[in-house]
């Protein structure tokens, strides 16, 4: 039976509704600010299941205004929005940012959310510069306002695989077999398709994949999968993973005393992240990942790293470099276009972005130039190996900080 405090309840409800309506309607009075500042709306998953990477990318957005001011002399203002790892929220937040006067959008790490935002951007005629998202479809829709400075899944796979070939050449080792384990999510699936397509053509990769073992990203226990992989007696483990399962897997390998030539990841996240080295200690060493990466020797990298150290004195740049690099570059693209266009008019900005040609970069690859589909071709990956608990670039040689070690020391040939 309802308690008889109807007055309180109703008051509560009315107050709540009024407050809600007020706060929701309030900002509609905001006039679009004109003037010499570029407003960049940054959409990232800072809560929800993608929070870790989202917050990492956010660090790149936070330091951008200061670095860009000193580089280009333009003023930019960052307006942040949390997509909450959720496509509904991503869409409304994008609309909201545009309403608040954002001249250009940057985001959003997750392919699904990025597609939703891209539609809004295209509809409203506001340029979107994608910082990180690998689904090829994002730049296949014929959009005029969507730009991406990040390799598509196909390019990612090809780059990652050819780096494996370079690795074998550099260390003079030719493994004959590999067991391929992959997490059954977007990344894993894209990688698998790419590997199937690319592997037969890459002749410097003479190894055969003897077994493919997909696993559930939510799996708490990977002992079965590792047992299966160990039973194949393959020369090395080709692994596509996420952070948490990478840690669980490596631990299982130790527990089950499985020591192949090494663990090589063609480019998914996980191995190069901070928690991997922290959780595994010495067992993280010698694991290899080939993600798109930043150039540790580039001038711009030093500048960004200095700004990062100022704001995050307790953090290690190397673990965030990739996320920061691409997020920063996305904002850089917007600022650079703003400088050339000389206005915040979205169409002018979009045209300026289309004509971008930035050679002074932080990330590995050729100059930032968009093709007809709004995609940058020529972004490169690096072969990153954990040495002494820190990820170090070992290939390509012009960006290398150390020499690759393969097979890893604890491997005993059978």
């Amino acid at each position: 039976m309802e308690r008889n405090n109807g007055m309180n309840r109703r008051k509560f409800n009315t107050a709540l509704a009024a407050g809600g309506a007020l706060t929701a309607l309030a900002p509609f009075g905001i006039a679009r600010a004109q003037g010499g500042k570029l407003k960049v709306g940054v959409l990232l998953p800072r809560s929800g299941f993608e929070a870790l990477i989202g917050q990492s990318c956010q660090k790149g957005a936070d330091l951008a205004p200061e670095v860009i001011k000193s580089m280009l002399g333009v003023d930019i203002e960052i307006i942040n929005a949390d997509t909450e790892s959720n496509v509904n929220t991503a869409r409304t937040r994008a609309e909201r940012l545009i309403e608040e006067g954002a001249h250009v959008l940057v985001g959003a790490f997750d392919s699904g959310q990025t597609v939703a935002i891209a539609q809004v951007a295209e509809q409203r005629g506001v340029p979107l510069v994608v910082n990180i998202a690998a689904a090829p479809q994002i730049t296949e829709q014929g959009y005029k306002y969507v730009f991406r400075n990040f390799p598509t899944a196909r390019d990612l796979v090809t780059n990652g695989l050819s780096l494996i070939g370079e690795l074998f050449q550099a260390t003079n080792i030719v493994p004959r077999t590999a067991v391929y384990m992959h997490v059954n999510d977007t990344f894993g699936q894209a990688m698998t398709g790419g590997i199937k397509a690319a592997l037969p053509h890459l002749t410097q990769l003479p190894f055969k994949i003897v077994d493919t073992i997909p696993y559930d990203p939510a799996a708490r226990d990977l002992s079965v999968e590792v047992s299966k992989a160990k039973a194949t007696n393959a020369d090395f483990l080709l692994l596509v993973c996420r952070l948490n399962d990478a840690i669980v897997l490596r631990r299982e390998m130790v527990k089950q005393r499985w020591s192949p030539m090494g663990v090589i990841d063609p480019g998914s996240p996980g191995i190069y992240e901070e928690q991997f080295a922290k959780s595994l200690g010495k067992y993280a060493d010698y694991c290899i990942d080939n993600p798109p990466w930043y150039n540790p020797k580039a001038e711009l990298t030093h500048v960004v790293e200095a700004a990062f150290k100022k704001r995050n004195p307790k953090e290690h740049f190397v673990y965030h470099g990739l996320n920061i690099g691409y997020t920063f570059e996305a904002i850089l693209i917007a600022a650079d276009a703003f400088k050339r266009a000389g206005s915040t008019n979205p169409k002018a900005l979009a045209d300026a972005i289309r004509a971008t040609n930035i050679t002074q970069r932080m990330c590995l690859g050729g100059p930032i130039k968009f093709n007809a589909k709004g995609q940058v071709e020529g972004n490169q990956s690096a072969c990153v190996q954990i040495l002494n608990g820190t990820p170090k670039v070992v290939l390509p040689s012009y960006a290398a900080e150390a020499k690759p070690v393969f097979p890893w020391p604890e491997y005993k040939s059978a």
Partner: protein, 289 residues
């Protein structure tokens, strides 16, 4: 597919299954007695895991030892939660209970996110990566200790419910609520006690679990679902059923992963849940609902 491979997989399944069983035990006790569908169960376990991680970080306290103070704490919290918040909801319709606990779960998960951030944490005891080998068969040390701790806790709980006066009183409440009231049992207190015990149980499970997995704010819901699958399969209200259910799920998932597709092994568990719900809702050892 060698015999040693199958043996290894089954053993790992049994050991891990026992820990899952302990977690489900807490749920079974709560559901079986208080009749509340605790959809915040996984989140409660997550908090216990964080507690174990913190204690390890601060005092290098082995999670198996940390389980004692954490369990005591959770007993008190569980008691308070039941007496304070949940009690009025026992007679409410299920969807209200569900939303209440979903709200609690949301709050807990996001407070954890705010306090600890999204990074996964873990403990690193010395023996965590060791294993004993008997021929080709490997016994993971951490898993063995975890399983033993789970069994010990379950045994303790079982003894309490079977042989102590309070335990008997609680079982009476569960069997016949009205009868218990008539006989003069303080049902409200007993319910709160039970919830406290269930919470303590899941706290121990959480501490043990840190030996095996990492903890992040988002791991809760997965464990809640797992808990329900085990409780249904094992049988509501049966403690042995919860343990057996845990082992069954652990082994069947392991075997499904071995012989079929590892990424679809959860499908197997849900399929099993569907079959059990339809054909034998009382599960392996439960009473007929």
């Amino acid at each position: 597919m060698s015999a040693s491979l199958i043996a290894n997989v089954v053993i790992a399944g049994v050991l891990t299954g026992l820990v899952y069983g302990l977690m489900a035990l807490g749920l079974s006790v709560i559901f079986g007695v208080v009749r509340v569908v605790n959809f915040a169960h996984g989140e409660m376990m997550t908090i216990a895991m964080y507690a174990a991680v913190l204690l390890f970080g601060a005092f290098k306290l082995d999670p198996l030892l940390a389980a004692l103070p954490v369990a005591a704490l959770f007993f008190g919290l569980g008691y308070a939660l039941q007496a304070g918040l949940i009690n009025p909801f026992i007679t409410r319709p299920e969807h209200s209970q569900f939303i209440l606990l979903v709200a609690v779960a949301t709050i807990l998960t996001n407070v954890l996110l705010m306090v600890f951030g999204p990074d996964a944490r873990n403990v690193q005891t010395d023996y965590m990566l060791d294993s004993w080998a008997i021929g080709q068969v490997l016994f993971d040390k951490a898993r063995v200790f975890a399983a033993l701790a789970a069994l010990a806790t379950a045994a303790g709980l079982f003894t309490f419910f079977r042989y102590s006066r309070t335990g008997t009183a609680i079982r009476a409440c569960a069997d016949n609520h009205l009868g218990a009231l008539i006989v003069g049992l303080n049902v409200k207190h007993l319910y709160a006690l039970t919830f406290g015990l269930g919470a303590a149980c899941v706290a121990v499970a959480g501490c043990i679990m840190t030996l095996l997995v990492e903890v992040a704010p988002s791991v809760g819901p997965g464990y809640t679902l797992l808990g329900f699958v085990i409780v249904i399969v094992g049988g509501l209200g049966s403690m042995l059923g919860a343990l057996l259910g845990g082992v069954l799920i652990g082994v069947s998932e392991a075997l499904a992963g071995l012989f079929i597709d590892p990424s679809a092994k959860s499908m197997f568990s849900f399929g099993l849940l569907i079959l059990v719900l339809l054909l034998r809702p009382q599960g392996l050892l439960g009473r007929k609902p």
